[in-house]
């Protein structure tokens, strides 16, 4: 069976997108009978002139306003192929909906009003297409009836628009003079445009190609989830994710980044299909590994024989902003790339680009406004595995979440060095070379009746950390947990005996070694209770990355106003009261 091509129709407001689709559906007999009559009747009742656009504007409030608010989809078939047409709004207010429609497209039809000429969104939409990596573009010069089918006007628009497209690295497959209202060159060649010998819109659709899946690119698979349906009597530990590019076979060696852990593909799993020996992009697959690795959603599986992926936490990106609130410098947002989600902030705005005029201005801005396109440096709270946009179109793009919604998107151009990178590459190397036990993490958890966990007790110098941490240890011990207390001091005089007393420079190394020791204790399956003076967010991050422990339970000893990081609980008063301890134990056991 042939596949279905997704075509987006874009362009400035009122240039006639919906009319062209309505006409295309009507002239190819793709409408349910009575639909045309029903809309004509509706217009008569409301004493409005009939428009083909109303066919698509199925929603009440849209008909009232007369503009497309959201994307509408309609299915459409020619002898050669099936199409899903995505009508997108041309009004600037609804750019987010245009992006939603166009991002799913294999190709785009861009409509320009012959009488009004090239307008702001004729350019902005093309710019968005180039950001969205939509390479196939057909330009429809509409409303030719209003300019008496004048060839010179058409040619002028072609020339001007081609010049613009060249600047944004896009090229049009063809320009077609049409009239949606009159049906010229939509499904049928128009006798009123004898000077035009090219395709009609209908013919142009059949000349578009569905972009081939990225099979020849290096293997990339962002881990989506890890399943173990033990309750359903299933012992398989299945790693899932979609192959974004390349192919995979049983026996391939995979490395997961950023952790650097590595193993071999044992089986490819599926339900109600034949047994597979291999698979390729863009299939969502499930597989088991020869070793029980502890890997997490968000890591990217790369074939050890393929080209390397970048691991970075400081990136130069191009992005577009759709959020109602401007994108602020140094404010915390969430970034989603592939299947990972990390906190981020904008460190620097390099330039803001006017998508319609292509004017770059070096920016002293502290924010990026709605519908702006910008180049900037972003900083991530922890490193991600990614490609750059010139290397890979899929694993180089991300979205930004603000106030629970996707508010922007962008592509990664390159990375910048980050201080912690050296530590991270050490950790990766350690993970790659780690000699694994035959006993898995799950087996240990099953035996000990709990997963490994980390409790950090921190606070100001004078706070009673050690007293409280030992109380926690005792309480958990009494609950039959495999628990161990470790103060940072125990490390300083032993493991750290070769480094000098605390200076700013050595503090990082102290912490790093401390975290490495914790990693061993956690790998052994323990709940570890540690104390350290006044840890900040950065120090906790280092511990998290070194130990692969995402969510340490953090107790701050002292007033909540003093704390320098996000904590689970603050203990200020009545430290010795049993209720204080009980509350912490209850809260911790509830979370784990």
């Amino acid at each position: 069976m042939e596949s279905c091509a997704n075509i987006a129709i874009v362009g400035h407001v009122d240039h006639g997108k919906s009319t062209i689709i309505g006409r295309l559906l009507a002239d190819t007999q793709s409408l349910p009978s009575g639909k045309l009559e029903q809309i004509k009747e509706f217009c008569k009742k409301k004493s409005r002139p009939f428009e083909y656009a109303f066919l698509l504007d199925a929603l009440k409030n849209e008909q009232a306003q007369g503009i497309t608010i959201d994307i509408a989809r309609c299915f459409f078939e020619t002898e050669k192929s099936k199409y899903l047409i995505l009508d997108t709004p041309g009004h600037i207010e609804f750019l987010k909906n245009m992006v939603t429609g166009a991002a799913n497209a294999d190709a785009a039809l861009l409509v320009i009003d012959a009488k009004e000429g090239i307008q702001e969104n004729s350019k902005r939409h093309a710019y968005m297409l180039s950001m969205l990596n939509i390479k196939q573009l057909v330009v429809l010069v509409n409303k030719m009836d209003l300019i008496a089918y004048d060839e010179a006007v058409f040619n002028e628009i072609v020339e001007k628009y081609n010049r613009f497209l060249k600047n944004i690295n896009l090229s049009a497959k063809m320009f077609i003079p049409v009239s949606g209202m009159q049906g010229d060159n939509i499904a049928l060649q128009s006798p009123l445009l004898p000077w035009y010998r090219g395709s009609t819109v209908l013919q142009s659709l059949d000349q578009l190609e569905k972009p081939a899946p990225l099979i020849s690119k290096p293997f990339r698979l962002p881990v989506q989830d890890i399943y173990k349906f033990t309750a359903g009597g299933d012992d398989r530990r299945i790693v899932t994710g979609r192959i974004e590019s390349g192919q995979i076979s049983i026996g391939d060696r995979l490395t997961f980044y950023p952790s650097g852990k590595s193993s071999y593909v044992k089986t490819l799993e599926s339900f109600n299909t034949q047994i597979n020996e291999q698979s390729h992009a863009p299939t969502p697959i499930g597989f088991t590994l020869t070793e029980q690795l502890y890997i997490k959603r968000g890591e990217v599986a790369v074939k050890s024989s393929d080209s390397k992926i970048h691991i970075s936490s400081r990136l130069v990106v191009s992005l577009f902003w759709l959020g109602r609130q401007p994108l602020q410098l140094n404010k915390e947002y969430w970034l989603k790339i592939g299947t990972s989600k990390i906190k981020m902030s904008v460190e620097k705005i390099i330039s803001v680009i006017n998508a319609a005029t292509l004017d770059y201005h070096q920016s002293k801005n502290t924010c990026i406004n709605r519908h702006d396109v910008a180049e900037c440096v972003i900083c991530l709270n922890s490193p991600i595995a990614c490609d750059f946009s010139h290397e890979h179109p899929v694993t180089s793009r991300f979205v930004i979440i603000d106030d629970y919604n996707i508010a922007g998107g962008g592509i990664i151009q390159k990375d910048l060095p980050n201080l912690a990178e050296k530590t991270l590459s050490q950790i990766r190397k350690r993970n790659i070379l780690w000699i694994k036990s035959d006993i898995s993490r799950e087996e240990r958890s099953l035996k000990y009746q709990h997963a490994p966990a980390l409790i950090i007790v921190t606070g100001k110098k004078q706070a009673n950390r050690q007293y409280f941490a030992k109380k926690i240890e005792r309480a958990l011990f009494n609950l039959n947990k495999k628990v161990y207390y470790l103060g940072i001091g125990n490390i300083i005089h032993g493991v750290d005996a070769d480094i000098n007393q605390q200076t700013r420079k050595t503090r990082h190394e102290h912490l790093r070694r401390f975290a490495e020791v914790l990693n061993i204790l956690l790998d052994a399956g323990h709940i570890v209770v540690v104390t350290a003076i006044e840890l900040d967010e950065k120090a906790v991050d280092l511990i998290k990355i070194t130990t692969s422990c995402d969510k340490p339970y953090i107790v701050w000893m002292g007033a909540s106003s003093e704390q320098s990081l996000n904590v689970n609980t603050c203990v200020e008063k009545e430290i010795k009261h049993p209720d204080t301890l009980n509350k912490v134990i209850k809260d911790f056991t509830h979370l784990c």
Binding site: E2, D70, C74, K96, Y227, L322, R397, V399, I406
Partner: protein, 293 residues
């Protein structure tokens, strides 16, 4: 890659994403062909398991074969099966068949309201006990934050505006005019307290795709879709007082595919046998804004 496999791939990816991102996830199962295909896709996505509950809104006016089929599959596939119902409206005879309400008003009470209360846990949930094979009042009334629904964009106008991940506010309302963007397979998986997200893995499927997939995968469907000698069959399933069969002698899945491909129904809307759609202009849209599936 063929079209059905493309569609299957995308739906599976969406289902796995929903399962990962929503702690309290459920799937609406109307017993119809679409949501049954969705249930099958779930088994594919999770390697034969169905790791979240299935919710059916039982109006008490469903065609009996539908309930029999639901419980048979639930036992066979070991489904965590839950149904909800607007017991008040039924007890007070506030329904269309009782002659007290219009069709649309009846849908609102028996479906929209029952759904809203079942999802938010403010109404009773009845869970199938696999040992006694009976439904029991469920003690778990945690609100669902993610709800997987089998709507398709070609069904009727308002559904063509849906997102794959579509937010609903505190009152379960759908703000069609201001939906969040979704692109690059990144969807709305973050949500404010007391709101929830509807997830639509079948958005790109057509009626014909559904039947072709049922054939390819040999999925068991409810007998009402086939002519058993009367020269009639159902094309869309609902409550018996408001759902009419179509003239058709299609006795098998192959017959139905042939019927759709030859264009027998190309001029008749799929839901034309559903009387509530016709009561007011845009009636279904009004219901959908209020939470109707």
């Amino acid at each position: 890659m063929d079209h059905l496999t493309d569609l299957e791939n995308k739906s599976i990816y969406i289902l796995r994403e929903a399962y990962n991102q929503f702690k309290n996830l459920c799937m609406l199962w109307s017993i119809g062909k679409d949501s049954t295909v969705l249930l099958w896709l779930t088994r594919k996505a999770f390697f034969s398991h169905v790791p979240f509950p299935l919710v059916h809104i039982d109006t008490a006016y469903k065609i009996p074969e539908m309930i029999e089929y639901r419980d048979r599959l639930a036992l066979k596939w070991n489904l965590s099966m839950i149904y909800g119902q607007n017991a008040d409206a039924l007890a007070n005879k506030q329904t269309y068949p009782d002659g007290t309400l219009s069709r649309v008003e009846c849908c609102r009470r028996l479906k929209s309201e029952a759904l809203r209360h079942t999802l938010s846990g403010t109404g009773p949930r009845y869970r199938l006990n696999h040992i006694s094979k009976k439904y029991e009042l469920d003690s778990d009334l945690t609100p669902y934050t993610g709800v997987v629904v089998g709507v398709r964009s070609d069904e009727e106008g308002s559904r063509s505006k849906e997102r794959y991940f579509s937010p609903r506010d505190m009152n379960h309302d759908w703000d069609i005019d201001d939906q969040p963007p979704e692109f690059w397979n990144q969807w709305k998986t973050d949500f404010a307290p007391n709101t929830h997200v509807r997830i639509h893995p079948l958005l790109d499927w057509t009626e014909l795709d559904i039947w072709k997939y049922i054939k390819r995968e040999r999925i068991e469907t409810v007998s009402l879709y086939y002519d058993t000698g009367s020269g009639k069959r159902y094309r869309s399933l609902g409550c018996w007082p408001c759902t009419y069969p179509v003239e058709s002698t299609a006795k098998t899945v192959n017959d139905i595919i042939k019927e759709l491909e030859t264009g027998k129904f190309s001029n008749i809307a799929e839901r034309s046998g559903r009387a509530q759609d016709k009561e007011d202009e845009g009636g279904l849209e009004t219901l959908r804004k209020e939470g109707y599936m």
